[in-house]
């Protein structure tokens, strides 16, 4: 702590160190700031690390267990599923779990700003507000895309290597490359989906519950609906539609193609982010 004499020195030299102002805060500046925010908090970095470990770890575990139990009792039915859609099996195992951390991360990214009060500092710096949310979404998406693609390819190479003795899979196989790239895309959009929910709900627990509820509980509920009603609703649920992209196998009863499903998921995400942006500009911070 310095003495009470500092103020004098403070205000004299100030002007020298402040470069002239631009007319408005550049979007690149705001993006740089959002990157600083993400990297300077341990919880985001730990959550990302957890995502990598969980996803790659469980992919390895599930494929290894499946291969070692290939000839075990009651394995025939499962083996048939794996053989019919090996890439869906490899990617589905780890991502099914790992995606939960992405849900948490996306929600936390905005809800912690509200819980800590940082949102006020952020909005004082970017009072038009929307560039702040846009920059956050762009920076987060870029970061997630890089990490999720690395994770997705890692899962593929590890999983296919383990599964090779039973079911050989190659990137050059039909739709496999799309599924591997698609898994990374799915996780990226899922992060933005959670960010959208977080910007609407603003409370960490509420936002995480909502995202996970949409991802895990809604499909179960819609599955209980009778007849084709349930099927149709189920097919257009965000995560159900989005997950089609990393399941190369197309079943005859499938209502949407992989890219159509991904499109539906992107649409949900865009609507949520737009609603979040609208409320951000309207609500008191």
């Amino acid at each position: 702590m310095t003495s009470a004499s500092t103020p004098v020195q403070a205000t004299r030299a100030d002007r020298a160190t402040v470069p002239p102002a631009a007319h408005h805060a550049g979007f690149a500046h705001v993006m740089l700031a959002e990157w600083t925010k993400i990297r300077s908090v341990r919880s985001t970095m730990w959550t990302l690390l957890l995502f990598i470990v969980l996803t790659v770890g469980f992919t390895t575990l599930f494929t290894a267990l499946t291969v070692s139990n290939w000839t075990g009792p009651r394995a025939a039915e499962r083996n048939a599923t794996v053989t019919a859609n090996p890439i869906g099996f490899i990617l589905g195992a780890g991502i099914g779990l790992g995606q939960l951390t992405i849900c948490v991360l996306g929600a936390l990214l905005i809800t912690t700003e509200y819980s800590t009060g940082v949102i006020r500092a952020s909005l004082l710096a970017v009072p038009r507000r929307l560039p702040m949310l846009a920059a956050k979404a762009v920076v987060f998406a870029a970061l997630l895309l890089v990490i999720a693609e690395i994770v997705s390819f890692s899962c593929f190479f590890i999983g296919s290597a383990i599964l090779h003795s039973r079911v050989p899979v190659s990137l050059s196989d039909n739709d496999v490359l799309r599924a591997v790239v698609g898994a990374g895309l799915y996780l990226t959009v899922l992060g933005l989906f959670a960010l959208g929910v977080g910007s609407l709900v603003r409370h960490t627990a509420g936002a995480i519950t909502t995202v996970i509820g949409i991802a895990l509980v809604l499909p179960i509920l819609s599955g209980l609906l009778p007849g084709s009603w349930g099927e149709h609703i189920n097919a257009y649920l965000p995560e159900q539609a989005g997950a089609l992209i990393f399941s190369a196998h197309r079943t005859s009863s499938q209502l949407l193609s992989a890219w159509q499903g991904f499109g539906v998921f992107c649409l949900w995400t865009a609507v949520l982010l737009a609603a979040g942006a609208y409320l951000l500009s309207r609500r008191d911070a």
């Binding site: 805060a25 300077s40 909005l123």
Partner: protein, 364 residues
């Protein structure tokens, strides 16, 4: 220069800021005074564009906050102590804010030096003391070398050294020609810091005047007289042109000791308009026994309390409309009956009339 015009903010059916108009001039420290819940923080948030007003405008150097290009270069604000992520370092908190304004890293180092936190800046804010957190807040406010500063309760939780430091900083900034707008609910703190005062209660303007003027108008001089024959003395004093009112038992805590005496307290009188020696002479000439004859100056704090008593949000008053007749404390006008912009009346008559500036006057 900060200007609020007819600023109004409603939360549900509660009017937090009620047609508030004032101007904060550069080159001096302007204190923003009012009891807890008077609407000070809300007003600051309206000025800063964090909350949207229901009516009216607030401008800084003629522009709405949202229209300022890189606002931290024009306006520095200290809001709550903990508008920061406890897991982030002070350096990174300042860094991301600097980046939004296109300010270099050297500027972050500069403000950290200014508040004396350079050595601990890389540590997580969660480990900081309240005073250190407040210093980070000041560093944030100073980051863009702003011409206008809004500080919400800056001395809250600070030790005496920290309070002195902030006081000196604010005075220095004002001397530099900057606009310094600082809120507090502590009258005595403002009395030594602010050159000018804006006092609000229940979201309405009570006073807008220089601190000197506020002190002079609000601090009433009187003489406390105790006598077993108080009634006769009161008449004699009145005959000499003085004004004697009965001393309320709770008016002055300093009299508790006297009240504990064996004989019980003699009746007390507050005499204004006559000096103590003259009162003594009157008593002697009329053979009246005096137990006490003390010249007094009502404390500034007490004057402020009385001035804002009607408008204290969390005071002992019953909510308007629900008070049964006759239960209102003496001298307390039911809220809402006072004319707009002039709620400074109180029962004791040392009015704030000369210090009151109505909203209408400012709207001109």
């Amino acid at each position: 220069m900060i200007e609020a015009r007819d600023l109004t903010k409603r939360y549900g059916d509660k009017l937090a800021v009620d047609h508030l108009s004032f101007a904060v001039e550069p080159g001096r420290v302007t204190g923003f005074l009012g009891p807890n819940g008077a609407g000070k923080s809300t007003t600051m948030r309206l000025i800063l564009g964090l909350d949207h007003p229901h009516a009216g405008t607030a401008t800084i150097n003629g522009k709405r906050y949202a229209d300022l290009g890189q606002p931290l270069r024009t306006v520095g604000a200290l809001l709550e102590v903990k508008a920061m992520h406890s897991g982030r370092s002070a350096y990174n908190h300042l860094l991301f804010l600097a980046q939004t304004q296109g300010l270099p890293r050297s500027r972050v180092d500069h403000v950290l030096d200014l508040v004396g936190l350079r050595e601990v800046a890389r540590k997580r804010i969660g480990g900081y003391s309240l005073g250190m957190g407040q210093r980070v807040g000041i560093a944030v406010a100073m980051l863009g070398d702003p011409q206008v500063l809004l500080l919400d309760e800056p001395v809250n939780g600070l030790d005496p050294e920290g309070i002195l430091w902030i006081r000196n900083l604010m005075k220095q900034l004002a001397t530099d020609g900057r606009t310094v707008f600082v809120s507090s609910h502590l009258m005595n703190e403002m009395a030594v810091t602010a050159d000018h005062l804006i006092v609000i209660g229940r979201g309405k303007l009570i006073a807008d005047c220089s601190t000197q003027e506020f002190i002079e108008r609000s601090s009433e001089k009187y003489v406390l007289v105790r006598s077993p024959d108080a009634a006769r003395l009161a008449d004699l004093v009145a005959a000499e042109g003085g004004k004697a009112t009965e001393q309320q038992p709770d008016d002055d805590n300093n009299n508790r000791q006297a009240a504990d005496g064996d004989a019980g307290p003699a009746a007390g009188l507050r005499v204004t308009g006559l000096q103590a020696p003259r009162i003594g002479e009157i008593a002697a000439a009329n053979r009246i026994v005096l137990h006490e004859l003390t010249p007094r100056l009502a404390s500034l704090e007490a004057a402020y309390m009385e001035l804002t008593a009607d408008s204290s949000e969390y005071g002992v008053h019953v909510a308007p409309g629900t008070a049964p007749p006759g239960t209102a404390p003496p001298g307390t006008a039911p809220p809402g009956t006072a004319p707009p912009g002039l709620t400074g009346q109180d029962g004791t008559g040392h009015g704030a009339e000369p210090t009151v500036t109505t909203a209408q006057e400012h709207a001109k």
